[in-house]
């Protein structure tokens, strides 16, 4: 049975519906990441789990217990806020111990808990400082410390890394992952950084406008996006979404791309999704991630189905470990990811290989995946 369950959760502020029937669940010890663009309702969802916002309808269960009407302090959760929310008038030690103090934990016990958490997070030397005397990374640690000291059933993180600079962010990301592996506590984590989502999550929930778009493992979300929004949102550089037309060549199907001032390109689709036949002669959106469009030598040798086409390279962007080449299909720039030493020149025509096992089709009318 799932540890944290959210069923048909609805949340409105006045007449505005913010969360529209969200259903999610995560097993004990899981790491659930909520992603989505700004304003989609991630923080609101997290706040409803915490009990900081009352819900309009639906149900939230933690460890099998219905918590809808429980006060935040009774839900056995701990939260790390985006702004860290450290009490400015208290020292680091007092910040960490405040919850225990309120709950009447005796002083020796509190001191021991503070010491344990401080050594875990390496903030022992900061305990007597005020939050205003800490750097951003240190504040972040203290905020984590305040949550960790409670040993709750669920941790809630609201964009805990978004105020840090890029380098520190990557370090802290690794640290959070390590902490999670060590403690095995269930975590719900909000971010709008899809790399954070991919690296940390055991399950990802993609939200848009308060509607759950897709819920699955990082690999499912990445490889099998259910619609164009998810496909576009997850992955960097983003998936190429190319307008195309489905054609037929006898028994099989082809996907055809218009090109400006050049003859169209046609690829044979072996093993198409069954729904694709119905789109014969119609427009679709063809989705291919940059790493599934490579130079023929760099193509995945295990791919059961590939197709190679001669494409005109417009721009070449070396990025150290890879080289990105941009070509034009269906009126859109399409990014291919080549080996770092691939020999491509802008303005030339080069053969590129599509890994067709990794490509997906969408219905341009509904933006949903064609299965």
């Amino acid at each position: 049975m799932s540890f944290l369950q959210i069923q048909n959760l609805e949340k409105s502020f006045g007449a505005t519906r913010i969360l529209k029937g969200v259903t999610l669940e995560i097993e004990e010890g899981g790491f659930l990441v909520l992603v989505g663009p700004s304003g989609c309702g991630k923080s609101t969802l997290l706040n409803t789990i915490a009990g900081l916002e009352p819900i309009t309808s639906g149900e939230i269960r933690i460890g099998g217990r219905r918590v809808n009407d429980l006060h935040p302090s009774k839900r056995d959760i701990a939260m790390v806020f985006q702004s860290y929310a450290l009490y400015p008038n208290m020292t680091v030690a007092q910040n960490i111990a405040f919850g225990m103090e309120i709950r009447g934990v005796p002083k020796p016990e509190r001191d021991k808990a503070i010491a344990d958490v401080a050594s875990l997070l390496q903030i022992g030397h900061l305990l007597d400082r005020k939050p205003s005397q800490l750097s951003g990374g240190q504040r972040q640690r203290v905020a984590m410390g305040r949550a960790l000291v409670r040993d709750p059933q669920v941790f809630l993180f609201d964009e805990p890394l978004s105020n840090l600079d890029a380098k520190l962010r990557i370090d802290m990301r690794t640290e959070i992952k390590r902490l999670h592996q060590r403690m095995g506590t269930t975590i719900v984590y909000v971010t709008h950084d899809q790399i954070e989502a991919m690296t940390l999550a055991t399950k990802i929930a993609v939200l848009k406008d308060g509607i759950l778009q897709q819920f699955g493992t990082p690999a499912e979300i990445y490889n099998n996006p259910v619609n164009m929004f998810v496909a576009d949102f997850m992955g960097s550089p983003a998936m190429n979404l190319v307008p195309a037309t489905i054609g037929g060549n006898g028994s099989g199907l082809t996907v055809n791309f218009e090109r400006e001032g050049r003859p169209p390109v046609s690829l044979a689709v072996t093993d198409p999704p069954s729904g694709l036949a119905g789109f014969k002669g119609k427009k679709v959106v063809f989705g291919v991630r940059p790493e599934a469009l490579t130079d023929p030598d760099g193509a995945d040798r295990n791919a059961s189905s590939t197709a190679t086409a001669d494409l005109h390279i417009e721009v070449v962007e070396p990025a150290g470990s890879d080289t990105f080449a941009v070509t034009n299909l269906g009126g859109k720039g399409v990014v291919a990811r080549l080996r770092a030493d691939a020999n491509v020149q802008p303005g030339t025509v080069t053969p590129l290989t599509f890994n067709l096992t990794k490509t997906v089709f969408f219905d341009p009318a509904t933006e949903n995946r064609i299965h």
Binding site: N47, A50, L52, H71, P72, S73, I77, A78, M79, F81, Q82, S83, A85, Y87, P88, N89, F98, G99, I102, R103, S132, R146
Partner: protein, 294 residues
């Protein structure tokens, strides 16, 4: 090469600007301090020295007789008590009135910003309206209510009136201050299990120094200086010092003892001065601390 002269110039214009600014500041300081000087100097002179008309001169014979008289023996209305009992009345009125109105204002601000409810802005709007109601309009209803409560003519009655009248202002001050106070801190404290009052006392109040000082200065000055409520609602034994001062100046039979009047006026103004001088410093310190914290 070219940098040196221009730097020179910059330094010189800097000095000139400074000189102008300081002269203006000194001029205004003198302008504002002159009345105080006149009052203090003349309160330390014997009466006949004042009669000679040299208001700006220092006393040739120094005396604290006028102060003693103003404090304990001068004729106030019909009895020769000096200002002392009325000074005490004012203290008994102003201290609880300031404390209660500040505390209630802080609570109101806390609720209006951190425990929002349906129609909270409306409530706040109505409270704001209280800031614009002229004293005169509420005189008769207030007298009526004080009568009904059995508080007419008592210091407690005055405290009540000042608390109610001041609540609009104190709420306004605290609401605006707490509006900028991060709500996430309140939420964090809720998760930590702190109650409504614990959050107020442990999280908000410790960060409210500057606004408490502003409110206290504002309320203290207004309540201490109030004349109309004191004149309208107080009995003879509960009148505040402002009314007593008026009685002192008006009730002297025969000779007008100007030196005693001056001493009485300075006495009446002293507490507000002290509040400014003492808490003004904390006020600036509070602002500075906020600025450094960022």
């Amino acid at each position: 090469m070219s940098a040196a002269p221009s730097q020179d110039n910059a330094a010189r214009t800097g000095i000139i600007a400074r000189a102008v600014i300081y002269s203006l500041l000194i001029l205004f300081a003198v302008y504002y301090l002159l009345p105080l000087y006149v009052m203090v100097v003349n309160s330390l002179k014997p009466l006949d020295e004042i009669r000679q008309g040299q208001m700006l001169d220092l006393p040739s014979t120094w005396t604290i007789e006028p102060w003693l008289s103003a404090w304990s023996t001068a004729q106030i209305g019909v009895s020769p008590t000096g200002l002392k009992p009325y000074f005490l009345n004012s203290i008994l009125m102003v201290v609880p009135a300031v404390a209660v109105s500040t505390l209630l204002g802080a609570l109101n601000g806390y609720v209006l910003t951190k425990w929002r409810f349906r129609g909270d802005n409306m409530v706040f709007g109505l409270m704001l309206l209280a800031c614009f109601i002229p004293f005169q309009i509420v005189l008769i209803p207030s007298a009526r209510i004080l009568g009904e409560l059995g508080l007419a003519g008592t210091v407690t009655g005055l405290v009540l009136i000042h608390v109610v009248y001041g609540l609009g202002f104190t709420t306004l001050f605290f609401r605006n201050y707490y509006e900028a106070f991060p709500t996430e801190l309140v939420r964090a404290a809720q998760i930590d299990g702190a109650s409504f009052f614990q959050i107020f006392r442990r999280i908000l109040l410790p960060s409210s120094g500057p606004i408490i000082v502003v409110t206290v200065i504002w309320q203290f000055t207004n309540i201490w200086n109030d004349f109309l409520f004191g004149a309208s609602f107080a009995d003879f034994d509960s009148i505040p010092i402002t009314v007593a001062l008026n009685n002192l100046v008006n009730s002297s039979t025969g000779v007008k003892e100007y030196n005693v009047h001056f001493a009485g006026a300075v006495l009446a103004a002293l507490p507000t001065l002290v509040v400014y001088i003492v808490s003004g410093r904390y006020f600036v310190r509070g602002l500075m601390a906020g600025a450094v914290k960022g």
